[in-house]
């Protein structure tokens, strides 16, 4: 065992639980991702165990733990909680310490967070009570098209003549997708249309600053969305090394800033 003080961030999202372990120099030394399931506490424990193993440290080495995400209050061993807005902000600013707009596409919600040059939030927005443009939308479409989620990105890239979906609503979009299948449209063209719909929903939420960062599980698994967004806004988009871990890393960084508390 490599005994050293570490800080833990746990992001219990609606779909996935992410854990990040950082050392005193803010290096990511351990991480793990697992489906949140229905027992958030058990999943958080499993992820923590795997992350500590990867970092080659033990529980006693944890100085502080901060939880975030939808299930942040369910993490019994966390010392404190910070919202996912605050954690994504912290996590992204760590990698890109400039004025940025963060686009986070999560399993059930989207966030747009604006940070000034010192990393302070100037505003944030979450999607309305609607799944349009979120990971849940892509999941629904993958079911309708009978295509595994992980194959969608590759298929969308093969599109030559994108199908445009006009509807905002997930259910109406699914009907449109079925209509396009009936009309003999090619699968890659429909999937690119589904991706385009996600990008459009994001674009409608807020304006962007010059530098834009994209994070979240949907971005991690569907990097083509980043390319499409770049095409839409006409400039390169910044993506952290682990886009799905941004919230967890942010939580770990928050843990580092809090008063040190030893569990044992």
């Amino acid at each position: 065992m490599n005994s050293q003080p570490v800080f833990v961030g746990i992001d219990v999202g609606a779909s996935m639980t992410k854990v990040a372990v950082i050392d005193a120099n803010k290096n990511l030394v351990g991480h793990h991702i697992k489906k949140s399931g229905t027992d958030f506490t058990a999943t958080a424990n499993l992820c923590l165990e795997a992350s500590l193993k990867m970092a080659n440290v033990e529980e006693k080495d944890i100085v502080m733990t901060v939880s975030t995400g939808y299930g942040r209050k369910n993490v019994s061993f966390a010392h404190d909680t910070v919202t996912e807005i605050g954690c994504h902000a912290k996590g992204c600013f760590h990698y890109f310490p400039i004025t940025i707009t963060i686009i986070d596409i999560g399993g059930q919600d989207n966030k747009i967070i604006k940070l000034d040059e010192s990393g302070r939030r100037s505003s944030f927005k979450m999607n309305r009570k609607c799944a349009a443009g979120t990971g849940a939308f892509l999941e629904e479409m993958s079911t309708r098209l009978d295509i595994p989620l992980e194959e969608m990105d590759g298929l969308a890239r093969k599109s030559e003549d994108m199908v445009k979906l006009g509807s905002y609503c997930t259910v109406f979009s699914a009907t449109e997708v079925l209509e396009n299948i009936r009309n003999g449209k090619k699968l890659p063209d429909i999937i690119k249309g589904v991706f385009f719909s996600v990008v459009n929903r994001i674009m409608e939420m807020d304006s962007f600053t010059e530098k834009v960062v994209m994070t979240g599980g949907v971005v991690a698994h569907n990097p083509y969305l980043v390319n499409m967004m770049e095409e839409m806004i006409g400039r390169k988009i910044l993506v952290p090394v682990y886009p799905q871990l941004s919230g967890a890393i942010g939580a770990a960084l928050h843990a580092m800033e809090k008063e040190p508390v030893r569990i044992n």
């Binding site: 993490v75 919202t83 807005i85």
Partner: protein
């Protein structure tokens, strides 16, 4: 995480007295409805109640009933009954809840007041469209259903300044109500009585204003959530001595709190302004959510809407017309923004929350760029939360919670 310490807002001692006044009001209406000894007028919340009271009517306010359906969380269960007969789930959920409750034969009044089985039967329905068109449609349904006369005032909406010709038009419309109301009530109109009632409404309004203005003190002795409950007498008892008496008692208690530096929220750190309707079925949850974050939601356009500084007993008709038309909800965005800036300054506000109520576009002021314009001008951050006044099916508690917590984190960052 250990068990979190729940912070609750400090209880207002005068509440018991208010509850008694409110109970007396509903029992009097119930007796009149059962016996027919007194005529009953249903009136929209900023309708010509002063005229109705002066002509001997007992006045019942269906919007208050709508709010009770919300606080009792009965609304979501009864709204579908109104949807079935053609009233869309997208229109005013006061309207759909109230009509739905009627269709299902239920009322929160019977839960709150033993012996009251239904809302009082109207002899006349009187509306003012100053708030929205929905109030007219709402009353029109009852008019057809119960075969009761429907009278009303049509207000000119969205002006920046209330011009003389507008006041003239509303004044004439109020005066035109006198004859049919004389016929329905069987009473002759008496200008002296109208002046007396307008004077009482003015006094109630002045006292209510002073009550709300105590929140400008740091720490604030009351919250918006207290305001939504304690505005009851200003809504249903304006124009009566009871309302005046009650606000004198409440004001005294709040002044005492100010003197003793007692805040409604323990260790108040952030001062929040609430723009839009309350989420009636979540008053306690929202109150606790903010209090636990040491945030005091202390002022609102909603509670301020029952301040009518224009009432003048010496010129009752014209001043009623002015008072009913000077409402925030009637005005243009330009006028609303000017007002908001004054409030943000007066109450020393750190952040503004806009409630985008799905079924109440007229009371959701975030939809035409106001938050962005005001933020730019004042530098005070704002947050929009999606919800509804009554229909809990349109609410995501988790999203509200995350949004509010993240907003307070943002205010905290700004303070350091």
């Amino acid at each position: 995480m250990g068990e979190e310490k729940k912070v609750v807002r400090k209880k207002i001692e005068a509440t018991g007295i208010m509850n008694k006044y409110m109970a007396d009001y509903f029992y009097e209406l119930d007796r009149a409805s059962k016996s027919g000894v007194k005529k009953i007028a249903w009136c929209t919340s900023v309708g010509p109640a002063e005229l109705l009271l002066s002509m001997g009517f007992l006045v019942y306010y269906p919007e208050n009933h709508g709010a009770l359906l919300g606080t009792s969380r009965m609304a979501s269960e009864v709204i579908p009954s109104a949807n079935v007969i053609g009233y869309s789930p997208d229109i005013c959920s006061y309207l759909t809840a109230d009509i739905g409750a009627y269709l299902k034969g239920v009322t929160p009044l019977s839960k709150a007041f033993e012996g009251i089985e239904s809302v009082p039967k109207p002899d006349v329905l009187v509306y003012n469209t100053n708030q929205c068109r929905d109030v007219k449609d709402w009353f029109a349904w009852y008019s057809r259903e119960l075969n009761v006369p429907l009278l009303g005032i049509h207000t000119h909406r969205n002006p920046t300044d209330i011009e003389e010709n507008v006041v003239g038009s509303i004044t004439m419309q109020i005066k035109d109500l006198v004859k049919p109301l004389e016929k329905i009530s069987g009473n002759k109109f008496d200008i002296k009585e109208l002046k007396r009632i307008v004077a009482l409404s003015r006094e109630c309004s002045e006292l209510w204003k002073q009550v709300l203005e105590t929140a400008s003190i740091n720490p604030s002795p009351l919250t918006f959530f207290d305001g939504t409950i304690h505005m009851g007498p200003a809504v249903v008892l304006r124009g009566t001595q009871q309302a005046v008496d009650y606000y004198k008692i409440l004001l005294k208690e709040l002044k005492e709190r100010v003197k003793n530096k007692e805040g409604a929220v323990e260790d108040e750190k952030f001062r929040i302004y609430w723009e839009g309707m309350p989420v009636w079925g979540r008053l306690r949850a929202h109150s606790e959510l903010f209090a636990n974050l040491k945030a005091c939601v202390l002022a609102s356009t909603y509670c301020n809407s029952w301040i009518f500084t224009d009432f003048d007993p010496e010129d009752p008709f014209t001043s009623m017309a002015k008072a009913y038309s000077e409402l925030f909800i009637v005005k243009s965005d330009e006028a609303k923004e000017k007002y908001m800036k004054r409030m943000i300054d007066f109450f020393k506000i750190d952040g503004v929350i806009y409630h985008d109520a799905k079924t109440c576009p007229n009371n959701s002021n975030n939809r035409y760029g106001m938050p962005q314009r005001l933020e730019k001008e004042t530098g005070i951050p704002s947050l929009v939360i999606n919800g509804d006044l009554n229909d809990l099916r349109l609410i995501s508690d988790e999203q509200t919670k995350t949004n509010v917590e993240a907003f307070i984190e943002q205010l905290e960052e700004n303070k350091t």
